[in-house]
Amino acid sequence: MPPDWLSPEEWQAVALSLKVSGWAVLCSLPLGVLTAHALARWRFPGRQALNMLVHLPLILPPVVTGYLLLLAFGRQGAIGQWLEPLGVVFAFRWTGAALAAAVMAFPLMVRAIRLSIEAVDPRLEQAAATLGASRPWVFLTVTLPLILPGVLAGSVLAFAKAMGEFGATITFVSNIPGQTQTLPSAIYTRLQVPGAEAQAGRLVLVAIGVSMAALLLSEWLARAAARRVGA
């Protein structure tokens, strides 16, 4: 692949998408695991409300999610105005793109992890408790290792979604080359003008290539984890 196959701006978009998706997955993972655990195993009032909230980005048109993010995390937003003095700014930053991607991918991540947690035999967790492990330790030493394949599946789903996420991102942080122009934004832009389809196609191939690599890596890791358990 010659370097001039894509323009520097396009390479920037590729790099940015990787960064945005990677951070989105990494940062939302702990919260995703926690949420999945809460939904799978805890009983508390508001559980269904939390469940609903998690699914919301899936149900709403992405533009609406982006708009709601703008209202919440914008500079003047309900939450954003409190974060700004702390130096946490999302608007027009790659961090905002990561936030949008994380929010959009969150339901997929949580569902995958939750399914894995529900499949863990609670008798193993009981056995750990009788050996002296408190709840958090049981989680760390038994549950978490056993749900690794689900965590991986959730992460790769979330990563793929983050790589493809467009509507919420452009609405929330718009499209600033080098800062918030992700791969999908770049592709979208090129689809808007007649005749740039070939260029868009090249970017699509890059998107597929990157995600394919992530997917293969996750499958390989999952298989390694399964081997550890199975033999």
């Binding site: 008798r123 193993l124 009981q126 056995a127 750990a128 408790a129 009788t130 050996l131 002296g132 492990a133 408190s134 709840r135 330790w137 049981v138 030493t141 038994v142 290792p145 056993l146 550890r228 358990v229 199975g230 033999a231």
Partner: protein, 331 residues
């Protein structure tokens, strides 16, 4: 140290309502399938919160429903060997064995000692999925022992083990019982195991305590108190209500109960002579019931299996021949 249990619980149509005291040593929970043995053990471990009741170990209250006390399992320090092994599939055998160590305090046997005892040396780096049924159960046993519990719960820990391995492990349990003095609640179907290990036997039946501290196994027989008269040249001479009995022993026995199984008692009409290694006790046939002869010997009752063929009348003076030395039970 001792364990006191008094709980009531409903599972579907099954009602459990038991109360018993377990003195130091091994308390065997004995009873038919479905009697509630596992349920009791789960309640002691804290894996099941009974509808009502109280559980106390050595002054520490593990559960008191009325007082609202219900210690979580990890704070009960009850080492539990499950009916199924429940090994952690993602950990190696070594990691499984050491799991309880991360949290455990107190003293106890070391890894090397347990690995040696249970013959796990070659398995340490394996995953549980690569173990045979008996191997897995041995690892589970080791894991519980290494967690340094203040109470051991064993739900048929040796059902999957072969005879050789069992007889290797049994003496070690005996030592554990005698040395550590932590209470052991032991569920087993094996009368032999129970007879050898149990200090106390709690018979469960359909959720109730049918009997406690009664004859150790379903195999008919009797238990006699004995006092040591003399110990010389590895032979202990005992006085029993049935008369003097001598048994070989490596040390003067301290325990003072003898178990005489009906299957080891023959009945002779005349005093048999020259029968090597037997003890002969004069007796009178008192009754024949359930294929068992009841023999009055001194102040004691002995049981013998009914021999085939015609029987002498009750009241006939006979000789009870013990074809095997009586077993010594711990007091």
């Amino acid at each position: 140290m001792s364990l006191s249990v008094s709980i009531a619980h409903s599972l579907g149509a099954f009602r459990l309502d038991v109360a018993f005291q377990a003195p130091p040593g091994v308390t065997a929970l004995f009873g038919p399938s479905g009697a509630g043995k596992t349920t009791v053990v789960n309640a002691v471990a804290g894996l099941l919160t009974p509808d009502a009741g109280r559980i106390e170990v050595d002054g520490t209250i593990l559960l008191d429903r009325r007082a609202g006390i219900d210690l979580p399992p990890h704070r009960r320090r009850a080492g539990y060997v499950f009916q199924d092994a429940r090994l952690f599939p993602h950990l190696s055998v070594r990691q499984n064995l050491l799991y309880g160590r991360w949290f455990g305090r107190g003293d106890g046997p070391g890894l090397a000692e347990i690995v040696d005892l249970l013959g796990l040396g070659a398995l340490l780096s394996r995953r549980p999925a690569a173990l045979s049924g008996g191997e897995a159960q041995r690892v589970a046993l080791g894991r519980a022992l290494l967690s340094r519990p203040r109470l051991l719960l064993m739900d048929e820990p040796m059902a999957a083990l072969d005879r050789a391995r069992r007889s290797e492990i049994l003496p070690w349990f005996e030592r554990l019982r005698d040395v550590t003095r932590i209470p052991i609640l032991y569920v087993s179907h094996s009368a032999e195991e129970v007879a050898r290990l149990a200090t106390t036997v709690v018979h469960l039946d359909r959720g109730r305590v049918a009997a406690q501290n009664l004859p150790l196994d379903k195999a008919p027989g009797v238990t006699l108190r004995a006092t040591l008269r003399d110990y010389r040249a590895n032979v202990a001479h005992l006085d029993t209500p049935a008369g003097p009995i001598s048994i070989s022993a490596h040390a003067p026995p301290l325990a003072l109960r003898l178990r005489i199984d009906a299957a080891t008692v023959l009945v002779a009409l005349s005093p048999p002579e020259g029968l090597l290694g037997t003890t002969v006790i004069p007796a009178v046939i008192e009754d024949v019931r359930n294929d068992l002869l009841h023999l009055r010997a001194g102040q004691a009752l002995l049981l013998a299996r009914r021999p085939p063929g015609p029987l002498p009348a009750t009241g006939t003076a006979v000789h009870a021949v013990l074809t095997a030395p009586p077993r010594i039970l711990p007091e």
